[in-house]
Amino acid sequence: MNALSRTAGGLSPFSAVRALASVSSNAYSVGPYQVFDRNAKRIRKERSAQVDGGNRSRTVDYLRDEIADRMIERLMDIKRTYNSVLDLGAGAGHFSKLLEPEITRKSVMLDLSQKMLDRDDTTEFAVEVERVQCDEENLLETIKANSQEAIVSCLSLHWVNDLPGVLIQIREALVPDGVFIGALFGGETLFELRSSLQLAEVEREGGISPHVSPMTDSRDMSNLMGRAGFTLLTVDVDEVKVNYPSIWELMDDLRDMGESNAIIGRRSFIHRDTLLAASAAYKALHGNEDGTIPATFQIIFVIGWKPSPTQPKPLERGTGKTNLKDIL
């Protein structure tokens, strides 16, 4: 009786209802867990690149430009010249604009959003650029394996669902001894916004929902890079703090950057009361003395190399000839 009612009432009548539940997008499939709605993300980016002919998007370039500036130094530290550099998740080309003909002849910019790629004119680049629309999650469908001398990614990997998978694809796409340099938001990024929205939602509505993405930790990054098969790893964390007049300007700017919430199962709106509560909570909890509010962005920089027999390797344990005691 029990079993019968389970088969009768359990599966078939509910299957139609089940399909509407966006939260469990992975319920009947195998594969990486889906956290982000990639299509929603693409639409956000397209929209932000189009508003006011791209001018709104240009005014909020400050963050990406700053990080691109810090990343180009890391590329310059490598004494090599390239025929072509692959800029993964290039956006409007914040990083590619900084490339000089002395470093590379050409840059191939890849992004989820074609409109974002096309935002800025070719004259703003010092090197030849090619713009290719492609989903980073399926990199190898567009880029051949063993074809790239250098791959860079500046602030796009924080929207990727399958980060381990993308890193493996990047390693595959590189030629042996090719380098990958990446920067992504992680760690404590936007913790002020996260905590004030959570407090406001609990106080006003009695529960919380996702508004700020889950972030990758720097320790996770070195593990993931190692697991993806990169060698000679470097991982470091940098922080940028931006002051805004209030939570409203912060949220406006995030939207104009195309960085608004794209978590699967997000609520499509925030109640006005909750927003008002969050604005007051943000200021009370994190506000600066001069009345402005800070927003923290933590950026994880990673450098990894595809293994090659020509690379320097650590010596075997116990082969050292010099006693450290004599030096220290």
Binding site: E203, G206, W248, L276, A277, S279, A280, A281
Partner: protein
């Protein structure tokens, strides 16, 4: 695309302006209450403070929601 024209002020923009100017003292009072109880937050922990804040906002916006 109407939101992109500089003269049109969106309702959210007005909400932003009034919450940071007209009703800023009520907002600060509510914030203070949150600061007092953020380690153990419960629903309606700062109900009185928010009601004053909300009332001020309703008057400033000349509408309810």
């Amino acid at each position: 695309m109407s939101s992109s024209s500089p003269t049109a002020i969106s309702p959210l923009r007005r909400l932003a302006v009034h919450s940071t100017t007209t009703c800023s003292s009520h907002a600060a009072a509510y914030g203070k209450c949150i600061l007092k109880s953020y380690t153990d937050m419960k629903k309606d922990a700062c109900k009185d403070e928010f009601e004053k804040f909300g009332k001020c906002m309703h008057e400033a916006m000349k509408r309810k929601w």
